[in-house]
């Protein structure tokens, strides 16, 4: 089952994680829907991949699939591979998966209050992972908890370990969740909208913290967000998702300098920016995000796309290379006018 030969494994410069043609289906009242369709990407060691898209685009489902944490029994991976250092997690036995979940991949969720147990002290929750996976006494586990809290910038951590989650502010709670995700020094951290519930000044603190921890510990990060600003400021590579599929993928500078999918362009144009003159009309993307139960045929963006042609209605475009690692799933990307920053 393990195919270490095909990838370079832990040591080389190959990807740490490689997702190939991932497909996920959900059973819903409206029948079986495909929430993620042929999604492929790779995460290199020590880098950050951002997954950006609007609600229902499949970004969170993709993340949950990596750890096989899809809600049961509705959700199911129906195709593709998730290779962590060459090992396919989709087919891995549960005991292997358990080790991966707790030792190699850490997860940070959007709302820290729901990720923490409200009736357990912080110290006990943090100690749990040390006790489970390392040969330590409860006292040592607590000491390590204090250390890791100090590392994520929580003042007087030796007092905080005795507190409950509700005694902390939102930003502090998210630091605790980050501490928890980092406690076993994972090679990869998956952060699903880690700062969406936080204020913008606190968000800046948390993003800065994640960046400096990454530099120190060398882990890779998959950052899921709806905010292109957060992507631009924190990621090395970007995956733009629309309605369960990859619209565009590539290095962050490339995507922002030469966005080639009409959806990526539409998103970039529609965000209000501080430099814009006030009260001018914003560019918009017509229509609305399709629900998973009524996805359009062909390119899933075609009914909102200003550049659609008949072919877009009929068949879905596959990813074409733009330049280097930059790829786009659009038939007409070559014909689109060169990208200029939205008029300020």
């Amino acid at each position: 089952m393990t195919s270490t030969a095909t990838t370079s494994g832990a040591a080389g410069s190959g990807p740490l994680l490689e997702v190939r043609d991932l497909a996920v289906e959900f059973d819903t009242d409206a029948g079986r829907v495909r929430a993620v369709d042929r999604v492929s990407f790779a995460v290199r060691p020590g880098t950050t991949l951002g997954i950006v898209g609007e609600s229902g685009c499949g970004k969170s489902v993709t993340a949950l699939s990596i750890l096989r944490l899809l809600p049961q029994p509705m959700g199911r991976i129906v195709g593709g591979q998730v290779l962590l250092r060459g090992q396919d997690l989709v087919t891995a036995p549960l005991d292997v998966l358990h080790k991966v979940r707790t030792g190699q991949i850490g997860m940070i969720f959007q709302e820290p209050m729901t990720a923490l147990n409200p009736v357990q002290r912080i110290g006990r929750q943090l100690s749990e992972s040390f006790l489970l996976h390392q040969d330590v006494t409860p006292r040592e586990a607590l000491e390590r908890s204090v250390e890791v809290l100090a590392k994520v910038g929580i003042p007087s951590p030796e007092l905080r370990v005795n507190e409950y989650p509700h005694q902390l502010s939102g930003g502090m709670r998210q630091r605790v969740v980050i501490a928890m995700a980092l406690s076993c020094r994972p090679a990869l951290v998956i952060a699903d909208e880690p700062t969406t519930a936080l204020d913008v000044t606190i968000q800046a603190q948390i993003l800065e913290l994640m960046k400096s921890l990454q530099q120190e510990m060398g882990m890779s990060i998959i950052l899921i967000t709806h905010d292109l600003g957060v992507i631009a400021e924190t990621c090395d590579e970007v995956l733009v998702m629309y309605a369960g599929r990859v619209a565009e993928i590539g290095p962050v500078e490339e995507i922002f300098a030469r966005p080639s999918h009409p959806y990526t362009r539409g998103l970039l144009e529609s965000i209000p920016r501080l430099e814009y003159p006030r009260k001018t009309r914003l560019r918009t993307i017509e229509g609305m995000v399709p629900g998973l139960a009524d996805l359009p045929a062909g390119c899933r963006f075609h009914d909102r796309c200003p550049h659609r042609v008949d072919r877009c209605r009929a068949e879905a475009p596959s990813l074409e290379p733009v330049a280097g690692a930059h790829g786009v799933a659009c038939y007409r990307w070559r014909e689109l006018a060169p990208w200029t920053e939205p008029a300020a």
């Binding site: 204020d199 968000q203 800046a204 631009a232 400021e233 922002f256 965000i271 209000p272 918009t284």
Partner: protein
């Protein structure tokens, strides 16, 4: 543009914090503390602040969904804060509200038609036929199909529901609309549609907006003037462009620099605040920003800096609540 349409003077909304056997008030949560601001006819005043700063409570205090503790809310010269509930009814036509989550603020059991007709019924306007005409016109104005009239809120997407919320707010030709985070629950591609609609309506119907949101980029885009709130106080106010280009308050500066911009590799000139936001329950004396301010001095811990005009006056004023000229 002579007199303000809405003038809030020294408004306080404090909530008692109760405890003990007899639930005596043991302290106060000072959600809105000594806030003054004005909205002129036809303009948008943007009110920005982070969660818990009191911006929503301020909006609710103006329309009396919450009773202010002290201060005045002058609307066209009448102090709404002093009026008994019964006398407020005519003013409810003039001031309307749009809420953040239209899924919560629309009655799930009413059709869109019934919901939009309700304001006319309550204020005894027109007959059944003319009211239906009005409802259809409202739907057209906000960009919804006539068929929406017989549907229920759950049949619409978030953006469409916000259009319904807007239709309800403009039904009675109000002068002022308090918009409380009207686009923050919406996806980016839908957000710009709704912002455009609100700008169009303002021009067409000569509306004034008090636009409350946490996102400075959104607020700056739709507003003529903006006010920055922190821990129950307005710390800076003025023309939107001026506050953006020449922010005077250290909090405004930090807020502007913290906004992630869709420009890669900008992060080098980020200003990161340290420290925590104090609780609005019995906040420390002195400046509300003292716990996070990079320029804090002894005087900041003792005296509350008043909101003082540093440039211009009246509608053109740029005011800041800081002891220093930074």
């Amino acid at each position: 543009m002579s007199a303000p349409l809405l003038e809030v003077r020294n408004l306080r909304t404090w909530f008692p914090v109760r405890g003990g056997v007899f639930l005596a008030a043991r302290g106060h949560c000072k959600a809105v503390d000594d806030v003054s601001l004005s909205v002129w006819p036809g303009e948008t005043l943007g009110l920005v602040g982070e969660s818990g700063c009191g911006k929503s409570t301020l909006g609710k205090s103006i329309v009396r969904l919450v009773k202010p503790t002290a201060g005045q809310v002058l609307f066209d010269g009448t102090d709404l804060a002093a009026l008994p509930m019964r006398s407020l009814k005519p003013y409810r036509r003039e001031i309307q509200m749009i809420f953040q989550d239209p899924a919560d603020s629309l009655n799930a059991r009413l059709t869109v038609g019934t919901m939009l007709e309700e304001p006319f019924v309550i204020h005894g306007i027109g007959n059944e036929a003319s009211r239906r005409e009005k409802v259809l016109e409202l739907l057209r104005i906000v960009g919804l199909p006539p068929a929406a009239i017989d549907r229920f809120p759950f049949e619409f997407s978030g953006g469409q529901r916000q259009r319904i919320g807007i239709a309800r707010a403009i039904a009675l030709n109000p002068k002022l609309i308090i918009c409380d985070e009207p686009v923050s629950a919406l996806d980016a591609s839908i957000q710009s549609q709704i912002l455009n609609l609100m700008l169009d309506l303002q021009e067409r119907l000569r509306l004034s907006y008090l636009f409350i949101a946490h996102d400075l980029a959104v607020v700056k885009h739709v507003s003529d003037r903006i006010a920055i709130m922190y821990l129950g106080h307005v710390v800076e106010s003025g023309d939107g462009e001026e506050v953006h280009h020449q922010p005077r308050h250290p909090y405004t500066r930090a807020l502007i620099s913290a906004i992630p911009q869709p420009v890669p590799r900008r992060r080098s000139y980020r200003q990161i605040l340290s420290g925590e936001v104090p609780s609005p329950i019995d906040p420390p004396p002195g400046c509300p920003f003292q716990t996070r301010c990079p320029h804090v001095q002894a005087v900041c811990r003792e005296q509350m800096p008043p909101l003082r005009e540093v440039a211009g006056s009246g509608r053109e004023a740029h005011a800041v609540a800081c002891h220093f000229d930074l």
